[in-house]
Symmetry: C2
């Protein structure tokens, strides 16, 4: 049987469950890690969340999510930076080694301006991240979200952003859903790996047809992404962290979450 | 007033109209060119289509579309090649200087295999294209279509494919809808331009939110794409051809097409 020690699951994957319920169910199933979303942490607070996760024997892999730096005015950009600083403090208190950044975009702004605001925002919070020992993991998002969720759309662009900032605390979260289509994905996995930039690895699958651009992701093996092949490449490039299952799916959220968890674990074992 | 001599409109933009109706309406409006889709040409045939377009004083900018090379088996791939040869013959008879290629993808196939089949397919039909004097214009599609419409997703990938095939008859159709998000779009426009690869330029806009991945495109100025800036870059890189308006929109197709045409022309004038 596949060892589940390196399997982590995002609390958004089992969105209907509370953090307490996810912690309990993941631990009972033998899953090694949990990636915590802020809305699931909110009712407990970071200290209590840390206690629950530790008591269950789970590893907290990351806090999701910071980012969303671009805004129409300076007040909005400052508010985003302040919110990211709170997220860094929460990640530290939670014992999460990284904060995942969905970098943001504003439809009315030229992409280049959004990208510049993202770089400024990350530079602004890097000192707090460094002081807290929390890595900032830039997650390039699929280009379908370029207008309103992330002006950072490719691994190459995320890598160049990391290289410009040049801090060991600014790295990358690589999600197969967002990068599988990229003709340069193999080369970029290798480059990110050899530069030590790959901080997180997220898996799910791309359903055909995709019925909703945000909430119709699939369990690994139920779509078109070559997840096992991408994981081999990521590992060959030096990544030794968790495989984090992150699935947004209205269809799955409407189902019995224990059954969904069992399907995810079976699909995960099938990747080997 | 903006000269409309370099404006062309795709017959799919006014999908509810017959080719005869589009030809008549575009010519009356002073539009210079028409890009013909095969389903609109079918009831007339290429010779009659050519006669109508010439009689109206329009320039035929392209025939849409060939491609869809990947298939599950050799029979399917041969059928695709045969269909592309018919399309080349139709483009020649129509007087279209190029055939636009939507390259295709099969969900069950690894992307690399689809890409290999695409290259094989284009190489197979290049002799007919050359003999007919019809350029093959590879249109990289937005990554949201990577699973089932085009494994060619970026200008860079299309350019490298052209460079490998290295025929003056294998070039690129650049559609702002498909490439606007790309962090390398400016560099690639310059590279494609200086290599003489840019054969066609398609414009429309990206609506936020996008309600349908295929048929919710917007008129220029009604979305987030910096169309005028991209056109400046494309022209600065040496492209002197038509601006082809290609809009798939259930919303617009349901409206009065004369009114839609008037809006498109007004939006086109606003780009200057």
């Amino acid at each position: 049987m596949t060892d589940l020690a390196k399997l982590a699951i995002h609390t958004m994957t089992t969105k209907p469950w509370s953090l307490a319920k996810s912690v309990d169910a993941f631990a009972r199933a033998g899953v090694g890690g949990i990636t915590v979303w802020r809305q699931h942490l909110l009712p407990y607070g970071a200290a209590e969340g840390a206690r629950m996760i530790k008591a269950a024997g789970l590893t907290c892999t990351a806090l999701c999510r910071g980012g969303f730096f671009p805004a129409r005015d300076a007040t909005g950009r400052q508010a985003a930076i302040a919110d990211n600083r709170r997220a860094i403090a929460d990640a530290h208190a939670l014992g999460a080694p990284m904060l995942v950044l969905v970098c943001g975009a504003v439809p009315e702004l030229p992409l280049m301006e959004s990208r510049s605001m993202i770089e400024d925002g990350i530079r602004a919070i890097e000192p707090e991240a460094r002081a807290a020992g929390v890595a900032l993991a830039i997650e390039p998002l699929h280009p379908q979200y370029a207008a309103d969720r992330s002006a950072i759309t490719t691994l190459g662009e995320a890598r160049r952003l990391c290289e410009r900032i040049a801090s060991p605390w600014v790295r990358i979260a690589l999600d197969v859903y967002h990068v599988w289509w990229d003709p340069e994905v193999g080369d970029e996995i290798a480059r990110c790996g050899s530069a030590g930039l790959t901080a997180g690895f997220h898996i799910c699958d791309w359903r055909v047809p995709t019925r909703d651009p945000l909430n119709d992701r699939a369990i690994m093996g139920e779509g078109v992404i070559e997840v096992a092949a991408l994981r081999r490449q990521v590992r060959a490039a030096g990544f030794a962290g968790f495989d984090e299952v992150e699935i947004f799916s209205d269809e799955l959220w409407a189902q019995d979450q224990d059954a969904v968890l069992a399907r995810i674990i079976a699909a995960y074992r099938s990747l080997d």
